[in-house]
């Protein structure tokens, strides 16, 4: 760790280091940012996990959480800020980490921070005609300034791409270009489309039926959750996390619970840890089942959809008995879980495990082994490991490209360090069942690989549950928590592995009962941005299948 500090110090002598945090934290001046960033990238820090904008009242800041695809446990936090509130500028890192392209657009959208040198400074979520920057502390939501729009934007509004440079006099210069040319054939897929898994809008440039470029438009379900969290207490925030990515609600909630617990120094009883792990894995199975069902449905197999949904209902029943909720389980609370498990819980889960194993075999017979399905999935949607890392594509999709990025292994939480399980990367998947469908069909980083990783992960989740279900320790299911939870001033970051990848929560607290800033790192944003490199020169009909294999959830992106 000290080596890294020395290294940063050498690159930027003015850099300061913060003590006491979970990760190495360096504060660099905006002018030195690009130097340090490029230096870190050279050192192997190639995965930009999270980029957070921040309004410090007197200045605007940006926080970068950077990790490495090789030294997975290493995380470095870079901070920089600008005191100019009228025209805040910060140099871009979009050429160093590809995903910063989108992250910086988000920071611009929320805070109005202009990233100098960024090729595409459009808003990411809000409409171009939106007045003001909603996450600034002095923003006032007023319907007379921003009324409910009545017209859909013109195509030009989507395509005019501004970029900023600093000229010789030190002034900001704005240049505008068009994303597409007039002669281009653009097909709008979405925002209302049955197979975009939510309200995603893809502007797709076609030549014949070959895709040449995809420009995703977000924000159709931007609900301002992070901003709302700033005026809520911590237990209130929990309910919004489940509505981010409703298919892995419990895991998102787990992330926030852990973040608050660790910050407030609350010890979670072992019983709650075990229950949480079992629930997380059940949710993972339910989520993968929907992912599988919808992907097959997108490819035209409605039987598979019905099968997947039918088996998911079994998990919903288990939830319902214990927690009372179906889709929104609302079960985790700060300090443990809301109530003890139902007496039937253990038996129900034990019945479910062999049932699911049997059904998985049936899925393979029904769909995986189908030559038409295999033929379609075989040669499409390739994503190399380098691309996956650069775009931050984690979860099953990243692992299918051969990147081992399972947070359960990197930073074990809850009861994951007490169980034996394998991380399902491409190689692991091939040795565990992918091989049955042929070395020629399941190719590294392809659609079929992502499909198979998900199904094999279901088996692995069953294995985890099997190890835990008989050993749930006796004791409290919930620790004693103060009635009003106040976090000590500071910054907290917690990662979990949800069904789509690395989901993280960042909280900045000033010691109050409300957070000062909350940021959720959505794994799905990376998945959608990966569509462009994956679908280039593929047929448009395959776009739907490829997006199905990525299994993203749009409200998680838009937040």
């Amino acid at each position: 760790m000290e080596k890294i500090q020395e290294y940063i110090h050498k690159l930027a002598p003015k850099a300061q280091f913060e003590e006491g945090g979970k990760y190495t934290t360096a504060i660099v001046e905006a002018n030195d940012l690009r130097k340090v960033a490029a230096g870190l990238k050279e050192k192997g820090f190639d995965y930009l996990m999270c980029l957070t904008g921040m309004d410090n009242q007197d200045s605007f800041g940006v926080i970068y959480h950077i990790s490495s695809s090789k030294e997975k446990k290493e995380v470095i936090v870079l901070k920089t800020n600008t005191t100019n509130r009228e025209e805040p500028t910060i140099p871009t890192v979009s050429d160093i980490w590809e995903i910063a392209n989108y992250y910086e657009r988000e920071a611009y959208d929320f805070y109005g921070i202009i990233f100098v040198g960024h090729p595409d400074m459009r808003r990411l979520f809000l409409r171009e005609d939106w007045v003001g920057y909603p996450f600034r502390k002095d923003f006032v939501a007023d319907e007379s300034i921003n009324p409910i729009p009545t017209k859909v934007p013109e195509p030009d509004d989507y395509e005019t791409v501004p970029s900023y440079t600093i000229n010789k006099d030190g002034k900001l210069e704005r240049k505008v270009k068009s994303l597409f040319e007039n002669k281009d054939c653009i097909v709008n897929i979405g925002p209302q489309h049955p197979s975009t898994h939510g309200v995603l809008h893809l502007r797709t440039k076609l030549e014949g039926e070959i895709i040449k470029k995809i420009d995703p438009q977000f924000g159709y379900i931007h609900r301002g959750i992070e901003k709302m969290c700033e005026s809520m207490t911590y237990p209130q925030m929990l309910y919004l996390t489940e509505r981010l990515d409703y298919l892995c609600g419990t895991m998102n909630r787990h992330a926030l619970c852990m973040c608050v617990e660790k910050a407030a120094g609350i010890e979670v009883p072992a019983r709650a840890q075990y229950i949480r792990t079992i629930f997380d894995e059940l949710t993972r199975i339910a989520s993968h089942l929907i992912g599988w069902a919808c992907m097959c449905n997108d490819m035209g197999s409605i039987t598979a959809f019905i099968y997947g949904m039918r088996d998911r209902e079994k998990i919903m029943d288990i939830y319902e008995e214990t927690a009372g909720g179906r889709l929104m389980v609302n079960y985790y609370v700060v300090g443990g879980v809301a109530q003890d498990i139902h007496p039937n819980f253990v038996n129900r889960v034990k019945e479910f495990i062999p049932y699911m194993r049997k059904m998985l075999k049936e899925y393979h017979i029904l769909f995986t082994g189908n030559p038409i399905a295999a033929g379609r999935m075989k040669d499409s949607g390739f994503l190399t490991k380098e691309q996956a890392v650069a775009l931050g594509v984690t979860g099953p999709s990243g692992r299918a490209s051969g990147w081992s990025c399972d947070v359960r292994k990197i930073e074990p939480y809850a009861a994951y360090d007490k169980v034996k399980f394998d991380e399902i990367t491409y190689n692991e998947m091939m040795s565990k069942g992918g091989n049955d469908y042929g070395r020629d069909n399941v190719l590294l980083g392809g659609t079929f690989a992502r499909y198979m990783v998900r199904l094999v992960e279901i088996e692995e989740s069953l294995r985890i549950i099997e190890q835990l279900i008989d050993n749930i320790p006796e004791g409290d299911f919930r620790a004693k928590v103060p009635a009003i939870i106040k976090l000590p001033a500071g910054e907290y970051y917690q990662r979990v592995e949800n069904a789509r990848g690395d989901f993280s929560v960042y909280i900045k607290s000033t010691g109050d009962k409300n957070p000062y800033r909350v940021k959720f790192r959505s794994p799905c944003l990376s998945l959608v941005t990966a569509l462009d490199p994956m679908c280039r020169d593929q047929k448009i009909a395959d776009l739907i299948m490829i997006s199905g294999s990525l299994d993203y959830v749009i409200p998680c992106i838009d937040r």
Binding site: I148, T150, K227, M228, F305, R326
Partner: protein, 201 residues
């Protein structure tokens, strides 16, 4: 006045709530007098219409998953004749607004609604589309879809259980069964929360 028994399989009129609303509606219809020929014809047409309502595949967030559950094996809304979900608004009879409607989505939803052919119905599913729900305080959320489009049935919940959705569907079926097909009420035009023409909500 009692509600005339609107036949829904295995459900009695007393089993339903909100019967007053339908009573009022019947009163309104009877004011203008009834024509015995068209009434009988109405009954026949409405019997067909109410048992083949085709929903539009539209979902913005969480409630969409419960909508999928209603469509899938266990709850199976095919039992009510709703099974053909249409991907084009032109072919759909009812739109389930399942999920939050944001400012950016509002004009899109309005356009989709306008594209649907008459007679068309709207079911607002879940807290978000009824009033903004948990996101009421947000700067970017429309607090209730009835600010943009007229709504026939509200199904509360966050998200509503599939059973609740089925109940909402049956309520809509009951409404359809009462309607005067040859003199369908004009749907009000709503923009920014204001109704422009007198509607029959």
């Amino acid at each position: 006045m009692e509600v005339k028994d609107i036949k829904i399989k295995s459900m009695k009129t007393e089993d339903f709530k909100d019967n007053e609303y339908l009573e009022k509606y019947i009163e309104e219809l009877q004011k203008e007098g009834l024509n015995i020929v068209t009434e009988k014809l109405d009954d026949l047409i409405n019997w067909g219409r109410s048992n083949s309502v085709w929903p539009f595949t539209f979902a913005t967030s969480c409630c969409g998953i419960e909508f999928m559950c209603v469509a899938a094996a266990r709850h199976d809304f095919a039992r009510f004749g709703w099974e053909v979900t249409r991907n084009s608004p032109r072919q759909a009879d009812v739109i389930f607004v399942s999920g939050t409607i944001t400012y950016k989505m509002a004009p899109v939803l309005k356009r989709l609604y306008d594209q649907m052919a008459e007679p068309k119905y709207v079911i607002a599913v879940g807290g978000c589309s009824i009033s903004g729900g948990p996101f009421k305080e947000s700067y970017h959320v429309v607090n209730g879809v009835d600010k943009i489009i007229p709504v026939d049935v509200y199904v509360p919940g966050c998200p509503p259980r599939p059973e609740a959705m089925l109940y909402g569907m049956m309520q809509l079926q009951r409404k359809i069964k009462l309607e005067n097909f040859f003199k369908l009420p004009k749907r009000p035009n709503i923009s920014n929360g204001k109704t422009e023409e007198g509607g029959t909500k």
